[in-house]
């Protein structure tokens, strides 16, 4: 039984893929009812569904699929033209098929009489939508045969062949495919350097030849036959699918025309016991251009030609797909192979282990004590190293799937929802071929659904309101995905009503999330963040559309679980933009390895702001029962990891400890650990069920020598011990600063050389490292700090980008300012860190010093500092960015050095923004 179960599972799986394609195609069909590629694809999907269902004996499914297939055949042969009601009927039929396939054995329970009746009516030509087709395309003459029933055309077509209806029975019984293979003997068959005999025997070996017909064009006589070619048609039945047949015969799609087997089946029952006289006596008919219904239509290649679907912005279409050529990444079926997910996971695991082993090998090989003459070994080690990297990349790529598979389902969701709410909404999809690890795709599905539904439900206004506001009646929701410096950025953008910070604040006060006082001090952008707070929902009633108690806080948590971030921007009256950033791969993350009471733990680097040695400069104090760290004028709540882990307290020799400053989205705190061991890229291993319940751990990893380190979760550790009062303490500290000037932010003041003072907003900075000149390597034309063998920080001299004094000589020791992701692959060189200060926007003088990369200047701590515009600087550096290298390691690795060393130039070039990414207003 298990073998059957396997087959059934396979059928259900394949069916669901067909259904997916079906739905996508039907959606597109609404906007392009005569698109042949679509019609063919839909036909094929239904045909396959029917075939599989037939094999298992799921008659209700076969029955429904059959009627739909018949209608599709008429549409595909351009005998009928699809119109709106017809497409809606097809969509509803597809839905019913969907329902049936959920539990095929109980498919009979799904009511579909309506659909069957509607489809049958179309077939009988009595439905209002059954207008006979007009011209199909440029190749065929205009219809002279309006109203010709398909049957007589069918008869005529088959009459050319001399065969007995019984010849068809075998093929029909086995559900095989009937084709008319048409080719010109010399031009198409012989030109392939095969003899006619071989071709025919090949054909015969692939199936059964029912009939053959050869002919010359009308006008050809002995006198002028030299240049003519013989047209040959084979009526042929085989189990093979069209594209395989093409390949086997060496012919093109236009040579093979599939005949509807169900029509054949019926014809067999009704046809007179064969033929009229052989066609010899009708030379005139032989080459008469057959009515377009029966013109051999190209079998469309299995990858639908997306460029054929042109966007039509004029009409408010329901959906629109970006006409970017997708051909490059679309995979043809015969080029893909099914692989079990478990196997892929195993491969991933092994690849990860290999990388770690390789890293250890590199370390050992790098040691001078492995022998003075180890140059041979070195080269082998390098080889292994590069192969390992390639292997890892390739395997990671195997787990990637195009995001389009996820985006695709939103077409339907938006369409249905907008109809339900009487809104007009157009969904635009960009970057559907951007690939993501499949686990990420799975994890994205729910959050993204929620966001899109939100946009439809709360974002886009009803047409009347939109027009009143001077907008188009049709709203737009744009779903886009793009690779951006080692991450994938997914955006949901709408041009709806945007969010009202005041209303959000009011709701938050009402729900007790914030106090009135906090609200009054909040900036608009902070107010927007309230939507992510737990227990917050602005929906008046939990509508079934986007409610169900799922809030933005759950979206945020889910995204963070995937290792990503979510941000929100909104302008009241104009729209909302939600940005999700995800790492390219789940499994390998950079981490800080620390020690606590002799046990090793890992902290995700993404949360690590800096490491501080408490002492005079950074005093550790107690305030009430809580411990805090004074860090550049701020008080940071601090927890001891050994406490969290349940170690008994012991005498604290503070000098030995370190405080790791961890940053969560809106709160920072310090974690006391005993040792700082290293920065590593670790492979995240899942924990068994018995350990998953411990909230502080998000997994484990295997370190260099094979020892296991638990991976700590900064989020849950914060909730564990940092009391609300401590958080409030933090909040009040920052809000005190906020009192003085509501828009002031902290900046870090530094110098690259002994020249100008530079200021960079701390929110752009992830950490500051002090390094020795000897740690820096020159790789190609860039200076880099090699973190370990997988990631490299590229050094950036601001004097190369800005009109400031260049560094002539780097000191022995200096600092590196590492920006926050996604720019954490580079770092700014600083000779000295001066101070940090508060800077408000209106303090910045934008007139005196103007340059790309600078916001302006300001007087800070009695000195004039140039305020950096880090975003602009990042763009300037990204000018030569290459996606593939960026993809490889999740770090911002630049392949092109867009600067010239030692030259002091402004770079005024406009950056090529990612072309697929539309400019967002």
């Amino acid at each position: 039984m298990s073998a059957d179960q396997e087959m059934l599972d396979l059928f259900v799986q394949e069916s669901s893929e067909h259904l997916q394609t079906l739905e996508t195609d039907l959606m597109a069909l609404e906007s392009n009812p005569t698109d042949n590629a679509l019609l063919n694809s839909i036909f094929r999907s239904v045909h396959s569904l029917k075939g599989g269902a037939g094999f298992f004996g799921f008659d209700p499914i076969v029955k429904l699929a059959h009627v739909m297939e018949s209608v599709m055949s008429l549409l595909r042969d351009a005998i009928l033209k699809a119109d709106q009601p017809m497409v809606s009927l097809l969509i509803s039929t597809s839905d019913k098929l969907n329902l049936m396939l959920v539990n095929p054995e109980r498919a009979i329970e799904i009511a579909c009489e309506g659909e069957i009746a509607g489809l049958k009516a179309i077939l009988d030509g009595t439905s209002s939508g059954a207008t006979p087709s007009a011209t199909k395309g440029a190749e065929t003459p205009p219809a002279k045969n309006t109203g010709i029933k398909s049957d007589s055309v069918f008869d005529r077509e088959l009459a050319r062949f001399d065969f007995h209806p019984d010849d068809l029975l075998d093929g029909l019984k086995h559900g095989q495919n009937f084709y008319i293979v048409q080719a010109e003997l010399a031009k198409e068959i012989e030109s392939q350097s095969q003899t006619l005999e071989n071709f025919v025997s090949e054909l015969a070996s692939l199936g059964t030849l029912i009939g053959t017909e050869v002919s010359l064009p009308d006008h050809v006589t002995l006198a002028n036959c030299a240049d003519a070619d013989v047209a040959c048609r084979f009526f042929f039945v085989t189990a093979l699918e069209p594209f395989i047949l093409c390949g086997a015969l060496g012919l093109g799609d236009e040579n093979i025309h599939q005949i509807d087997s169900s029509k054949l089946g019926e014809w067999v029952k009704t046809a007179p016991a064969q033929n009229v006289a052989p066609i010899v006596h009708e030379p005139q008919d032989i080459e008469e251009k057959p009515p377009e219904a029966v013109v051999p239509q190209s079998i469309v290649p299995t990858s639908p030609t997306v460029p054929a679907i042109a966007p039509q912005p004029a009409e408010p279409t329901a959906t629109q797909i970006d006409p970017k050529p997708v051909a490059a990444t679309k995979r043809k079926p015969e080029e893909t192979i099914r692989i079990s997910v478990g196997l892929l996971d195993s491969l991933m695991n092994l690849a990860g282990e290999m990388v770690l082993g390789r890293n250890r090998l590199l370390r050992i090989a790098g040691r001078s004590d492995t022998g003075p003459d180890n140059s041979q070994m070195q080269s082998v080690v390098q080889e292994i190293s590069s192969v390992t990297s390639n292997l890892q990349d390739t395997i990671m790529r195997a787990r990637l799937q195009p995001v389009g598979s996820l985006f695709g389902k939103f077409t339907r969701i938006v369409r249905d929802l907008s109809h339900k709410l009487d809104k007009q909404i157009q969904l635009e999809i960009f970057g559907d071929d951007v690939e993501l690890d499949r686990t990420l795709l799975e994890g994205l599905s729910d959050p993204l659904t929620h966001l899109v539904r939100n946009s439809v439900d709360h974002g886009i206004e009803i047409p009347a309101n939109r027009i009143a506001k001077g907008k188009t009646s049709c709203g737009t929701i744009r779903l886009s995905a793009a690779h951006l410096a080692g991450r994938v950025q997914i955006e949901v953008l709408d041009d709806g009503g945007g969010m009202d910070p005041e209303r959000l604040k009011a709701k938050a006060i009402e729900k007790g999330v914030i106090t009135t006082e906090q609200a009054s001090r909040m900036t608009d952008s902070d107010a927007l963040q309230l939507i992510f707070a737990a227990g917050f929902s602005t929906a008046e009633a939990v509508s079934d559309i986007s409610g169900r108690g799922v809030g933005m806080d759950v979206v945020k948590t889910n995204i963070e679980k995937l290792g990503g971030h979510v941000e929100l921007e909104s302008r009241l009256g104009q729209g909302t933009r939600i940005i999700i950033r995800l790492p390219l791969t789940l499994a390998i993350v950079p981490a800080l390895i620390v020690g606590c009471r002799g046990t090793t733990y890992a902290l995700p680097q993404i949360n690590v702001d800096e490491i501080v040695h408490p002492g005079e400069e950074y005093p550790l104090k107690s305030m009430g029962g809580a411990r805090v760290l004074e860090l550049r004028g701020q008080l940071l709540p601090v927890v001891d990891l050994s406490d969290l882990l349940g170690h008994p307290p012991r005498e604290n020799t503070k000098q030995e400890n370190f405080v790791v400053v961890l940053r969560l989205d809106h709160v920072s705190y310090g974690l006391i650990v005993n040792e700082i061991i290293s920065n590593e890229e670790i492979v995240v291993k899942p924990l068994g069920r018995h350990l998953r319940s411990v909230s502080y751990y998000t997994g484990a990893t295997i370190l260099g020598q094979g020892e296991i380190a638990m991976i700590l979760d900064p989020n849950s550790m914060a909730h564990g011990r940092i009391s609300a009062s401590q958080l409030a303490l933090n909040a009040s500290k920052s809000s005190e600063a906020a009192l003085s000037d509501s828009t002031s932010e902290r900046v870090l003041i530094f110098q690259e050389t002994d020249g100008e003072f530079l200021a960079i907003h701390l929110k752009k900075v992830m950490r500051v490292e002090s390094v020795k000149a000897s740690d820096i390597e020159r790789i190609g034309s860039m200076d880099c700090l090699r973190k370990n063998h997988d990631s490299t920080l590229r050094l950036v001299q601001l004097s190369d980008l800005l009109p400031i004094k260049p560094q002539t000589q780097r000191g022995e020791e200096f600092f590196l300012i590492v920006p926050r992701p996604p720019f954490d692959g580079l770092c700014l060189v600083a000779s000295r860190i001066v101070d940090s200060a508060d800077l408000s926007d209106d303090q910045i003088d934008r007139a005196t010093f103007k340059a790309r990369g600078l916001k302006g200047s300001a007087v800070l701590s009695d000195r004039l500092s140039l305020v950096l515009d880090f975003d602009a600087i990042a763009e300037m550096l990204n000018a030569g960015g290459d996606e593939t290298s960026v993809f490889a390691q999740g770090h911002f690795m630049l392949t092109a050095n867009s600067q010239q060393q030692g030259q002091n130039q402004h770079h005024m070039t406009q950056l090529p923004t990612n072309k697929e990414q539309p400019a967002l207003t």
Binding site: G688, I702, G706, I708
Partner: protein, 177 residues
């Protein structure tokens, strides 16, 4: 294959039993559940884990959760002893491939779990009679993990229900420790 071993009359089963000892007591389990046996595994303790978890073991790139048998059964041992052997149980992936997986195979986890024991004993043939455990043998133990006993002239072997053992059943407070 019927694993309700409480009944004395069972249809013939094909699976053997693996015998092992822990703290001087004899135990056995369904060999179908067993993937491999590790010698002297390095167990890394995990803070904040339940008491019946001795720690984790690195097993060819995977994290194996190592259970302490005595703790799991409900009579904790005072002195921690180094683990001599670890019986590694099959995961969901492993079990799915079996033509006749054990009855409780759905309880398996996707990540490996193992049991720390002192020594591995004999493999007992499928026909070995497993009887319902007499009350005195069960006293102090969490009965959900016991499938029955095997009686021989010199000893009583406790047969364990592995599915329950590796599942998330919380430890019942035993009446007498």
């Amino acid at each position: 294959m019927n694993l309700s071993l409480a009944k004395a009359d069972r249809p013939t089963r094909e699976s053997q039993w693996l015998g092992f000892t822990s703290c001087g007591r004899q135990y056995a389990c369904d060999l179908l559940w067993v993937k491999e046996v590790l010698r002297c595994p390095a167990v890394t303790p995990v803070k904040l884990a339940s008491s019946y978890i001795r720690g984790v073991v690195h097993l060819r790139g995977q994290i194996l959760t190592a259970l302490d048998l005595e703790e799991r059964l409900g009579h904790p041992v005072s002195e921690p002893r180094p683990a001599s052997r670890c019986i590694v149980f099959k995961t969901t992936n492993d079990l799915v491939r079996l033509p006749h997986p054990p009855e409780d195979h759905e309880l398996a986890d996707s990540d490996p779990t193992g049991l720390l024991v002192d020594a591995i004993g004999d493999i007992l043939p499928p026909e070995t009679r497993v009887l319902p455990a007499p009350p005195e043998a069960l006293s102090g133990l969490d009965t959900r993990f016991i499938a029955g006993v095997i009686s021989s002239q010199d000893s009583l072997t406790t047969v364990l229900q592995i599915g329950n053992l590796v599942s998330m059943l919380e430890l019942k407070k035993s009446p007498s420790v």
